[in-house]
């Protein structure tokens, strides 16, 4: 019994080692995805072309414009001479963002009055819009804090009092607005789902295509040995890929794990169980690897779109948001972001852990049952 399982697992590892496609999926894809999602999405959102209409044209307004530019999120594209010219620049797509500073901006600030700055944002890309508004408000807050601190200091009060105005935490847990923070948990949950699913399904379907499965069925191998022989190796590869992604995220983007590594590991395994189960399930209904791939995509695409990996779930219409509760990735992504970024534990995460556990255990049990029936 152990001999048979051992033979299965050993054979699978030799095949993994010899297959470039599998190796690439395990070793290269995680880092590539991380770079792709980490950097590509970063560059989309920063360096937004910005048009300025500076009616004040004083020290304070120029300082504010400089602060915008220095933030890295805005590139000053040019200066407009009227409000309508600003709007036109956005309409024409020359600028994503327009900044309007009213006359006597500096005077108002000096007198301790509210300085009203208008920001017009091209809302056609929700990612751009949210980033621009967050970034702009951060810039403004920071600038306000500096001004207040300076004026308070002039009046002889210490810095302590100035802290009261600092409203910076607009973007909770992601102060630099780096998309890597959001993307790393996303990439990990994608890898754990996609890689485990596709590699497990391929491993079985490949044997069906080659005819080795039929050969195996006529040996004394039990179907559960066959199943474990497929599941164990791909648990190891998925874990390897996950660790690689986390290391890369840490080295390249400085994103570590704020919470418990043990909890992270345990819940990742739980999620992985579901992915492996889906892979087995797919393998029982696919005759070819192409079919398996198609079916994998059928699970993948809704997961990517709905889980909050690409688009924040908060901005989704109600019905879509309910739909997103059907994909396990939604729960796992929430859990992962919770543990990695917020450092929270089970006390806060259990409402997501419960449905995830339910899903994973149900899918694995179902696939195990189906696998036994289809193979035997």
């Amino acid at each position: 019994m152990i001999s048979r399982l051992l033979a299965m697992v050993r054979k699978e590892f030799i095949q993994i080692r010899r297959d470039r496609r599998t190796l690439a999926m395990v070793l290269i894809m995680p880092v590539m995805e991380l770079l792709l999602f980490g950097y590509a999405i970063d560059t989309v959102v920063d360096h937004l072309s910005t048009m300025v209409y500076d009616e004040a044209s004083d020290v304070e307004s120029r300082a504010l414009i400089a602060a915008f530019e220095n933030s890295g999120y805005f590139d000053i594209e040019g200066y407009a001479l009227s409000q309508s010219e600003l709007v036109e620049a956005i309409d024409a797509g020359r600028a994503k963002v327009a900044l309007h500073i009213p006359p006597r901006f500096g005077d108002q600030l000096l007198r301790g009055q509210q300085g009203n700055v208008q920001l017009i944002i091209d809302g056609s890309d929700p990612n751009v819009a949210s980033t621009a508004s967050f970034a702009a408000s951060s810039v403004v807050q920071a600038r306000m804090a500096e001004i207040t601190a300076a004026s308070l200091e002039r009046r002889g009060l210490g810095r302590a009092a100035a802290a009261g105005i600092d409203l910076r935490p607009v973007v909770l847990y992601n102060p630099t607005m780096s998309s890597a923070h959001f993307m790393i948990p996303g990439v990990i949950s994608l890898i754990l789902l996609f890689q485990a699913l596709i590699l497990t399904a391929f491993a079985v379907v490949r044997e069906r295509e080659r005819g080795t499965l039929e050969q195996l069925i006529v040996t004394p191998v039990k179907s559960w040995e066959l199943m474990l022989g497929k599941v164990l190796p791909y648990t190891v590869t998925a874990a390897t890929a996950t660790i690689l992604t986390m290391l890369a995220g840490w080295i390249l983007f400085g994103v570590g794990v704020a919470g418990s590594l043990l909890l992270l590991g345990a819940l990742s395994l739980l999620y992985l169980l579901g992915s492996l189960g889906l892979g087995l399930l797919i393998s029982t209904v696919s005759q070819t690897q192409a079919q398996a791939m198609q079916m994998a995509m059928f699970f993948m695409i809704p997961s990517i779109l709905l889980s909050g990996f690409m688009y924040p779930r908060e901005t989704m219409p109600f019905a879509i948001r309910q739909l997103s509760l059907l994909t396990p990735m939604t729960y796992f992504l929430y859990i992962l972001r919770g543990i990695m970024l917020k450092g929270v534990g089970l006390r806060f995460l259990w409402p997501s852990v419960l449905p995830l556990a339910l899903f994973s255990i149900a899918v694995f049990a179902l696939s195990a049952k189906r696998f036994q029936k289809r193979i035997a």
Binding site: S3, M8, K11, I14, R18, R210, Q215, V218, P220
Partner: protein
């Protein structure tokens, strides 16, 4: 029912929906025999083997393999047999040695004996020096012998070989049969399927299967005697016309071209003289009519013709 039979099958039937792939077949195979299952593609050979190996449930009928019931004791059967599936199903990305080692693990060959056993198999398959070559890089003949080695790793008493020589060059086929005969000398029983008629001559007994029905099961000599004297070779000046005439005769069961000659298979009522007369009346000049020893192909054709 023969008690010492390695395989014993009664009225075995398998239906897939409306299709009856195997239709009420009965036969038995004795220890040390080479039993060849001969039939064209789609005649039900693989389906029969699958039922005998305990991986496909018969629709009806019974069977015992190595004394075990094929329906209820599949697991016991699997431990005692070796099976080589229709395409030599090797792991192409594993080396010769790794393939053998894998099956040694699957069949639980004791670790202490494993190395020795694997070396024996490598030598048997003539693969010495190629142990580290990937199975996918071997030529058809080598692959075929490696597959046999894998199926034989646990020294089973019974080997099922499903079209082991399909797509392999004639020399490799010859070598393969030599290997099979060596195995039977060690007391191994072989159940082999093929659609090569010439190959079946290697067998002690042949089962001829067509459209799921077992038409005959006998030694090659017995099979040939079944048609002996009823098969004529006709040499004449106009073979096409001869065939046209012969086909209309009720005494002629089957006509085929054989080069410039014509082979005619007669029914029991047919006689050489009637044939000569009919042809002469039809304006065909007959040079010679000779009763001939039928080939297995003639036997097969006659059995099928008889059934239709």
């Amino acid at each position: 029912m023969a008690t010492d039979a390695i395989i014993d099958v009664r009225n075995l039937t398998k239906r897939f929906g409306d299709l009856t792939a195997v239709d009420q077949i009965s036969f038995s195979v004795g220890a040390g025999e080479i039993f060849a299952f001969l039939g064209p593609n789609g005649s039900g050979k693989s389906t029969t083997i699958r039922m005998l190996c305990g991986i496909l449930r018969p629709t009806s009928g019974t069977g015992r393999v190595l004394g075990f019931d094929i329906e209820r004791e599949g697991e016991k059967i699997k431990r005692g047999i070796g099976y080589m599936s229709q395409r030599f199903s090797l792991y192409e990305d594993l080396t010769v040695w790794e393939n053998l080692e894998f099956y040694a693990g699957i069949y639980n060959v004791p670790r202490t004996r494993r190395r020795e056993r694997l070396e024996e198999l490598v030598a048997m398959a003539g693969l010495t020096g190629r142990e580290r070559q990937l199975a996918g890089q071997l030529s058809g003949g080598w692959q075929q012998r490696l597959a046999l080695g894998c199926a034989f790793v646990h020294q089973p008493r019974l080997l099922f070989l499903d079209e082991p020589t399909a797509g392999v060059d004639p020399i490799s086929r010859q070598e393969f049969w030599t290997l099979i005969h060596d195995l039977t000398r060690q007391g191994v029983t072989i159940f082999v399927t093929t659609h090569y008629l010439d190959e079946a001559e290697h067998a002690n007994r042949i089962g001829m299967i067509h459209l799921g029905k077992l038409r005959a099961a006998a030694t090659p000599a017995e099979l040939k005697r079944m048609v002996h004297g009823r098969l004529l070779n006709i040499a004449c000046d106009a073979p096409f016309e001869a065939v046209a005439i012969l086909q209309t005769m009720p005494e002629v069961r089957n006509v085929t071209f054989q080069g410039n000659d014509v082979h005619a298979l007669l029914t029991d009522e047919g006689a050489e003289e009637t044939i000569r007369n009919s042809l002469r009346q039809g304006g065909v000049v007959v040079h010679d009519v000779q009763p001939i020893t039928p080939s297995l192909e003639d036997v097969f054709v006659s059995l099928i013709a008889g059934a239709e």
